[in-house]
């Protein structure tokens, strides 16, 4: 009897399988949580459910055909994926991109950043239970998608860049629409702030949740807003300028505490900075060609390079090796920011509650299409 009652007071570990079909794992992420009550003791992150082998596929495609494969990685930020790939190949081929094309690329990339952050804000807020923000954010994202549709005809997977420049010039009147959008977005960011920034519940749900120090975040390879949220000054746009970023003024917001709330503030500030960049780019848009001098048959010289850009999620790097003989890359490797950020989930989550798990998945802003590729 004594042993029995002792056994009855043992606490069992509850293994909870979260996903891959779960409303807030942002796709097909699966978490195997080991719970003590509702507190997470350990988590095993399982992924690969949408692994399509984009790297392998790309090694068997033309250099140009790969652009449309990159659309499918981070499908909420297709333009930055295009940009990163095209920049890398241009670096490998040492192609000069005309200034106008670089400006337009910057505008597209920053619009894309706003769109991606809108989606992040909506889903993150939704995970924490603020469902109205979700629809507000999607309302603004819709405006950007309209702009993209007008530019290249597609709303999600744009295929909007080419190696050496751009396939299309801006439609007439597009810049005015972008300016109008910037004005709208300015006021909408205020609206998001009103709804969330000083909301007591929002503060309680995000402050002090998922704290990670700057050195830890660096060591873990976090990138983008999660890294900057811990106060590490790292923004590829500033550190290794690409496209036309060295010609614009913008600030890199940094966090101080490294918690979910700081990462939220940073992304909200990035809305404003993106708008600032877009305004400068639209105002200073130079005339000129949109396509550089690129041979018709792309066949870079044998060699390898790694090039990174700042995608909305963080450092999006491409490692590309050309063998100099075939018309496809010999090795095509993507350094997916979501993948590296997702690696930070385990240390962030341990010790928190189940309800925080969804908040932390949200704060890392992972897109499973990019994690799995």
């Amino acid at each position: 009897m004594a042993t029995e009652s002792a056994a009855m007071f043992d606490t069992d570990e509850l293994v909870l399988n979260m996903g891959p079909q779960h409303p807030s794992t942002h796709g097909v992420l699966r978490l195997v949580l080991r719970l003590d009550g509702e507190r997470v003791k350990d988590v095993d992150v399982v992924m690969g459910y949408v692994h399509r082998g984009i790297e392998k596929l790309s090694e068997n495609r033309d250099w140009t055909q790969i652009i449309l494969l990159t659309d499918r990685m981070d499908y909420v930020a297709a333009a930055t994926n295009n940009l990163g790939y095209c920049e890398t190949v241009e670096k490998l081929m040492e192609v000069e991109v005309p200034r106008r094309a670089r400006y337009i690329r910057t505008i597209l990339a920053e619009l894309q950043r706003i769109a991606s952050h809108c989606l992040w804000l909506g889903t993150h807020a939704m995970d924490i239970g603020a469902m109205t923000v979700f629809l507000y954010a999607f309302r603004e994202r819709e405006l950007i998608l309209d702009l993209f549709e007008e530019y290249c005809g597609a709303r999600l997977t744009y295929n909007s860049m080419r190696i050496g420049g751009l396939p299309l010039d801006l439609p007439s009147g597009w810049d005015a629409k972008v300016r109008a959008f910037c004005d709208i977005m300015d006021s909408k960011v205020e609206e998001y702030e009103e709804l969330l920034t000083n909301n007591r519940i929002w503060l309680q749900r995000t402050r002090g949740i998922g704290v990670i120090s700057g050195p830890d975040a660096t060591a873990l390879g976090l990138c983008g807003p999660p890294l900057r949220g811990s106060g590490v000054y790292r923004d590829v746009r500033k550190d290794e300028p690409y496209a036309a970023y060295d010609e614009f003024e913008f600030d890199v917001p940094l966090g101080t505490r490294g918690d979910t709330y700081d990462r939220y503030l940073i992304r909200l500030e990035e809305f404003r900075q993106s708008i600032r960049i877009i305004r400068q780019a639209v105002d200073g848009l130079p005339e000129g060609p949109i396509m550089g001098k690129v041979p018709r048959l792309l066949k870079p010289k044998a060699g390898e390079t790694y090039h990174a850009i700042e995608s909305p999620k963080g450092e999006l790097g491409y490692f590309i090796a050309s063998d100099g003989r075939s018309t496809n890359p010999y090795r095509f490797r993507v350094r997916p920011p979501s993948f590296c950020n997702l690696q930070g989930l385990r240390p962030l989550v341990i010790g928190h509650l189940v309800a925080d798990v969804v908040a932390l998945i949200g704060t890392l802003d992972v897109v499973l299409g990019e994690v799995d590729r």
Binding site: D44, R234, G303, E315, R325, Y330, D372
Partner: protein
């Protein structure tokens, strides 16, 4: 999930496509084995099999060029420091379109990694990427590539380690925790013989996957050679895993 197979053995997972029974583990990395060097062998005119591959690439590259830097180019301070501190560790230095690469032997990898992380001039505190590329004709077929970045000093470097199929490559997870998953993915895709990794499991492919998809001799199409060989067995294994996964 956690207590699934311990897939540390990359020999068992050699793709055996098209009925080429040559097993690479007989002569590991000693000479280009028939299976791995088949395209090269076909190009050379020798005919090891009566059934040649219909779509063999015309000529397989022998390996990356790794061009040396031009003589008039000044080497960055961190490279000089590295060469001074560990002169034996640097096999070669390569420069291409603005990227510096040091090629180090696998045995010296950890020393180089620690030096690059801790040295004040270098201070490569951020491990951007770990990946590999596969050059089957070469004796040491894998290039394991570490893309490093220094947030403090804002410069980049790549470390490259050449490794044969069974040659051990130490894990740098202790140096940069970021390498944990990246190495897992590299192992998952290439089957590089990683040693000392804390959690070496498949990451993108299913746990019971056979073969390493990113290798150049792995077929692009088809649901995997294992499925082609014995679909019923594949189905059985798959169902079994599904049941045991249900905790």
């Amino acid at each position: 999930m956690v207590d699934d197979q311990a897939p540390g053995d990359d020999k068992a997972a050699k793709p055996a496509d098209g009925g080429a029974p040559a097993s690479p583990e007989v002569t590991p990395a000693a000479s280009p084995t028939p299976a791995v060097a088949k395209p090269a062998a076909a190009a050379a005119g020798t005919k090891p099999k009566p059934k040649p591959k219909p779509k063999a690439p015309p000529e397989a590259p022998k390996g990356p060029t790794d061009p040396p830097p031009p003589d008039d180019l000044e080497r960055p301070a961190y490279l000089v420091a590295l060469q001074e501190a560990l002169p034996d560790a640097v096999q070669a230095i390569s420069y291409w379109v603005g990227d510096w690469t040091v090629i180090v032997p696998a045995t010296a990898l950890l020393d180089v990694a620690r030096f690059l992380r801790d040295d004040d001039v270098a201070s490569f505190d951020y491990c951007s990427d770990v990946t590999a590329s596969d050059w089957p004709p070469r004796e040491q077929r894998f290039d394991v590539i570490y893309c490093l970045y220094s947030i403090r000093r804002r410069h980049r470097i790549r470390i490259k380690v050449r490794a044969g199929e069974t040659e051990p490559v130490p894990s740098v997870t202790d140096v940069w925790p970021a390498a944990n998953w990246l190495e897992r993915e590299m192992w998952d895709m290439f089957g590089v013989n990683l040693t000392g990794h804390p959690d070496l499991r498949r990451i993108l492919m299913p746990d019971n996957w056979q073969g390493f998809p990113q290798r150049k001799d792995y077929p692009l199409e088809g649901p995997g050679e294992f499925l082609l060989e014995s679909p019923m067995e594949w189905l059985r294994l798959r169902n079994m895993v599904d049941e045991t996964e249900m905790e």
